[in-house]
Amino acid sequence: MSSSTATSPLQKEEDINRGSTYHKLKQEKPRKLKKRRKILQNWQLYIFVLPAFLYFFIFHYIPMYGVQIAFKNFNPTLGIWGSEWVGFDHFTRFFQSYYFWDLLKNTLGISVYELIVGFPLPIILALALNEVKDSFFKRTVQTVTYAPHFISVVVMSGMIIAFLSPATGILNHGIQFLGFEPIAFLSDPDWFKTVYVLSGVWQSTGWGTIIYLAALSGVDPQHHEAAIVDGATRFQRIWHINIPAIVPAMIILLILNVGSIMALSFEKILLLQNPLNLESSNVIATFVYKAGLLDAQYSFASAVGLFNAVINAILLIVVNKIAKKTSETSLW
């Protein structure tokens, strides 16, 4: 019963909704005059939001305006507006380049692999943790599995490089101990995606359980008691009571994951990339970084980045629509 001490998240959400409908009813009455008075009365609140507004305007909306250089030949002396238009030239050049399909294949390959392996594991771990009533053991597992979340991506990459080294890495010592040949994980393109995905699983599975555990703590114990009386086994109770309780959280996370398929966190890829594994580690995001910032091909790199962002937005909207049609849950 240790988990039921936390307040139910579902209940809180209900409170918020009730609050807003109550508020809507109240808002129906005031006329324009009252609204104007409200703005004047609360002018200080606009000052509260001002820094955030300026931040988003300068560092997010001005770059959105600046993305037009993808359709221009950007010349720093002429500026963004003054540079000459070239239409879709940069896009055609990208689509016709020999590396286009490799980049697309690697980007999608790594993301889908990550989704298939990384999505179910936090759910399984959360369901298992939820079955444990021994709070010391449960707390230990939670504390330990959450911890890797706080390791920086540089240290994580350093760990991967150190552990997987063919000559000195502990993993290869283990492999040799079992009588196999050492594997050059980071210089073999065939291994790159697996290394990337499994190290990610190690780092983030524990942290990923939090949302599911929150949803599970909202399950009414009476359901379980009734099911026990009816003779349901533990497994049946998980299947019919616990899993339906976390389905909304699952759908939201699935939408977010699919929606960010093209936007995979490339910081780790950039650190683990080397000329030998480039064949399978070259993804759109690292390509944009190299073409844009290292080779200063600003317009071309912006075009590639924009292509990526557009695919991403389309995926997000489509998946959200599907979720809305097939279930009650969606992002908007």
Partner: protein, 301 residues
Amino acid sequence: MNTSIHETKTDKMFKVFVYIFLTGALVIVLYPLIYIISASISNPSAVNSGKMWLYPIDITFDGYKLIFENGAIWRGYLNTIFYTALGTFINLAVTIPAAYALSRKDFAGRNLLMGMFVLTMFFSGGLIPTYLVVKNLGLIDTIWAMVLPNAAAVWNIVIARVFFQTAIPKELEEAAIIDGASNFKMFIKIILPLSAPIIAVMALFYGVGHWNGYFNALIYLSDKEMFPLQLVLREILVLQEMSAQNTNLTGSMAEAIHSKQQLAAIIKYGVMIVSTLPIIIVYPFLQRYFVKGVMIGSLKG
């Protein structure tokens, strides 16, 4: 749930299976962490040959000694502390008042503003246009490049807003307004004292982000004097460019270290620990705040 009702055989087996699974997960996550600690204080040749696999062998603190004598690591550490402190302060100054204002139902235009902020989670100009903005503002190679391009995170504003909507009693605000308090006065005298939990959660989320971040420094800084710790670590751990001239080696030790690689081997596990130390120290005490933050976020998600 765990009443004394007789458990069936399958249920017991299931329970055993659950415990085995969780113990497996525990060992898989814990082992690399223990290995790093042991390796950082073992003789490097025992580490590299695989003789050391769990307990430290030939305990030596040479690695840590080299780290403490290394100017680049110290400088990186100080830079990171500075960026983290300044950056987190700016984050809080931007996030908390904005989230509070956006939580107020009588704030006209709040939905429009919130929509404008949330939209940036899904659409952005991308790496290059953002870089050009930072460059045109003249922020390259200044401390501002480390703290302004990430002055706020939408998700954290959403979390803080949910907190203000649910945890601050509306009656308090109404009473303050009737008493004639201005919004500024109310925010400082009434709201902030009640916001300690959310300020802690936000400071932790942002602080860890600054401490662990390397990418902004990679693209916006070229002056090595300004490098944060993570970029110094990148040179040691990933590029393995740790050159002997960076360290003030004393005679006998310099003889013992033949190559850069060997030097990297001695210090690499130590720097992993030293760089993560502040987080390791605060984590056990603050774990519940982190978890709380994620849970508030999941309400809205």
